[in-house]
Amino acid sequence: MSYPPPVGDSIKLKVQASNDPEEAFTNRAYLPISSFSFLFPNVQSNLYTTNTNYIKIRVGANEYILSASPNKNMKPDSIALSKALRGWMYVSNNEEVYVEFYDPNPNICGSMKVSIDYLTKGKQGPKQDSQEIIGKIIDNFNSQYFTFGQLFYIKNSNSTFELRVEAVETNEVPTKDKGWAIISPATKIILQKMPGSLIDIETNGPLVVNQIFTSDWDFENMGIGGLDAEFRDIFRRAFSSRIFPPAIVKKLGVNHVKGMLLYGPPGTGKTLIARQIGKMLNGREPKVVSGPSILNKYVGQSEENIRMLFRDAEIEQKAKGDDSGLHIIIFDELDAICKSRGSRQGDSGVGDSVVNQLLAMIDGVESLNNILVIGMTNRKDMIDEALLRPGRLEVHVEISLPDEHGREQIFKIHTAKMRDQNALDKDVNLANYAHTTRNYSGAEIEGVVKSAASYAFSRQVDTKNIKNVEIKPEDIKVCDQDFKRAITEVTPSFGSTDNQFESYAENGIINYGPVFDKLLQSGNAFVEQVKKSNRTPMMSVLLSGRPGCGKSSLAATLAKSSEFPFTRIISPNDLLGYNESAKASKITKVFEDSYKSPMSCVVVDEIERLIEYVPIGPRFSNLILQTLAVLFKRTPPKGRKLLVIATTSNPDILKDMDIMDCFATVLSVPSISTAKEFQTVCFELGFTQKEASEAASFFTSPITIKQIIMIVEMARQEEGNFIDNFKMCLEDFNIRNF
């Protein structure tokens, strides 16, 4: 490509390299004396080395304004430009350029922004004084023209620096040669590091906020129902310090949080949070790995996989230092790889070194400051504790079961599309469902919505003739009834287990008199106390009485009528066949689960059976006993309330075993001890009024409800007069018992 030679007094010169390094540092063009005096006929030799002899260089279609000086030893028709100038003008050696005299236009530079790096990129050196460098720029290049993108060199403390003009601002709007400005001692020079530079220098530019979040991000659109508080926590601990420029954070001596642990029951949105964190961040995608995918069949390969995860961060940290971007590594199911070391039996310890590797990567000797590791687990207790200390996964956020408000949000999120499509019936009341679905996790609520939708779909389908499906999309409406049925269908894993309770009080409760009334009242009083009082989050009650006196039924009834969202029974029946330690851990698990619900009731049935007590010996399981003793006294986490109702038919043994002290109160459940009570019970069991009063006359000694029921049933099997049979059976029973 060729351009026509410019008109006027321009001369054609051939580009060559600077004659010596000193010339290169002046940022001037050097001309042979003949050319120089042609362009500047009136300049005296004492002004040869000033910056005020301006020339305009044309390279192709571009024009550049530079200061010029003569050099005696140059070939005629050549012009010497430094490497920086040639790089900036994109002109190669021996290329021909047109040079002409330039009449300066006084565009005084108000401020100039310059970025700096070592000439040798990637070099590291001692701390540089930015004021000194700015002073040199002003001194050396006073009254030279500069423009955006211009490159020049400076020498300071034995190192050479390359500087690039990022912006020039003139005091007044220039009349011509826009974008060019003359440096004067009044010019404010703003120095900043070149991107990726490792130069150690105090920059004086304006502080820039790190753009780690996408601009259109807000909490509402994230679709994390009921986790606002948790998310705010995460934000404050892990991200807020990273928004500030590294320089400020460094000044305060604060290290960023490098790790975070999200824990909580399954289905509560831990993975969802991790996914959303990825969405809200600018640029770099977080690496999401599920714990088990790290593991490999070869010894050492798992550790290698961990190292690979951190490699990118390591490389960037080395290259950019404090300016490195944030690398997020998310471990789902962290407990799979970070089990407490030495906890696995029959293990060669191969897995332990994975933990060690992770420890070293997060906060080892060569620690990275540009990472954020987020671990997620529903077994926090299994995670190696070294991983949980500050400096590693130091922020622990519990993602617990959502509260009522949260559940409503979750319902809204999952029904949002239905509502948009007008597929929700008018009578659907989400707030109501949120109220009834106590202890439902996010995933379970999603299940409810799915189930409700399935009812709506099935209305459209004729089950007798499955082929005959007439699809009318506008007819698919999910109604209130669907949701209600769905809620009964989907049971929460942390909810109450109604079936179990019903089996304990099969025949209902028989109120046989004032003694029982009092018992029931005080039981209910405890329930109320746990519900209302904030000072007693933990209540344990022991019901004692003879076998068959209705302790278990009473306990089950109390638990059920309490309407606590989480109710469980620990009964010897369910633990049959387990060994000692398995039993202990099952019991512990129930209590651990109860801590996840805001209000819970645990019924521990027949303590002496649980601890495997037998009077001959005597023998019992101390392990289970100690477990129970601890659990009965342990206060649940803040905000959680727990009522423990235990039953025993042998309180003396418990006293000997020192477990009585664990209970706040002992309620003794008496047997039927008066004829009046006996009569009431008989009446409740289906006797006529007359039969009942007659039966009461047979009463001789205290008897338990269970025994009465048994005797009544026995009498009913016999032929003949019912009352006579009853009398006979009762007498028979008394003789056998005494």
Binding site: P21, A24, K83, A84, S92, T120
Partner: protein, 291 residues
């Protein structure tokens, strides 16, 4: 031993024939006398050759050539000069070159440029072997011109490439670049030769860098990529991209890594090694060249 003595006899006989001069001239045919002498000289030369007396053999051939000239059988004279040069080559380069030049003079007179180009190339090779690169370049240039005149492009290019090679060694990079670009441009159209272009591009670009002209190299590389689309994906191109970047960043480690990577697949010849060394010197970390 017999060869030596016989050769001397032939020499004497030949000398005698010439000395006989005027006497013979009066009686016998003028030219046949020279023919005979030349024939004797040739025989002597051959005998010297057999006893490996190269210098003497060369001298004898030269004399034979002179006789042929006098006897105006120019073709034979030129052949003899070539033979003489063949013998001189073994030890006496200067005389060999003189003989070849005499032969070339005859061949060019006759218009036989192909053969004169061949001999001109031989001269250049002699200079090259002597280490006289200036003369070698000049001779190769003439040879190339002759070849070009005869339309033997490949041979002409061969000579030009030699010139480029020596020019670069003499730090006349401009000349080298010009030749490599010219040869590459000419080779592009030919299906057979286009595969060699990447080598020329590589060398040209290295010359730019050796002249410490990074911008020039970058622009040239862009030009080459445009000239030959497939160049973009070659290892040569990757090497150049890498070392241009390294030069720009003044980074010696990157530079050596790039070169080592290239070298591990296609080993570098001595020319490239020396040019690369020069480039490496331009990006010295301590002095940090800025000119």
């Amino acid at each position: 031993m017999g060869d030596d003595a016989k050769a001397k006899e032939f020499l004497d006989a030949a000398d005698k024939r010439l000395r006989g001069g005027n006497f013979f001239k009066m009686f016998g045919g003028g030219s046949s006398r020279y023919d005979d002498a030349a024939s004797d000289y040739t025989k002597a030369a051959n005998l010297f050759k057999m006893s490996k007396k190269w210098d003497q053999a060369g001298a004898a051939f030269q004399k034979a050539a002179e006789c042929f000239l006098k006897g105006s059988s120019k073709h034979d004279a030129a052949s003899s000069y070539v033979l003489a040069a063949g013998c001189y080559k073994k030890g006496n380069v200067i005389d060999a070159i003189t003989c070849l030049k005499a032969a070339i003079e005859y061949y060019t007179d006759e218009g036989r440029f192909a053969i004169s180009a061949k001999h001109q190339k031989e001269i250049a090779e002699l200079y090259e072997a002597e280490g006289d690169f200036d003369q070698a370049i000049a001779s190769y240039q003439i040879a190339s011109d002759y070849f070009d005149g005869e339309n033997s492009t490949v041979s002409s290019h061969q000579c030009l490439l030699k010139i480029a090679l020596f020019s670069a060694q003499l730090e006349r990079y401009e000349k080298s670049i010009e030749i490599y670009e010219q040869v590459a441009a000419a080779s592009l159209d030919n299906n057979l030769t286009q595969w060699g272009c990447k080598e020329y591009f590589l060398r040209a670009c290295l010359c730019y860098l050796a002249a410490d002209d990074v911008v020039g190299a970058e622009r040239a590389l862009q030009r080459y990529k445009d000239m030959q689309a497939s160049f973009n994906s070659t290892r040569e191109c990757r090497l150049l991209d890498g070392i241009i970047q390294a030069c720009r960043n003044n980074n010696v480690e990157d530079f050596t890594n790039e070169v080592a990577e290239f070298n591990s697949i296609s080993p570098l010849d001595s020319w490239k090694t020396s040019i690369l060394l020069r480039i490496k010197n331009t990006i010295n970390r301590e002095t940090e060249s800025v000119v």
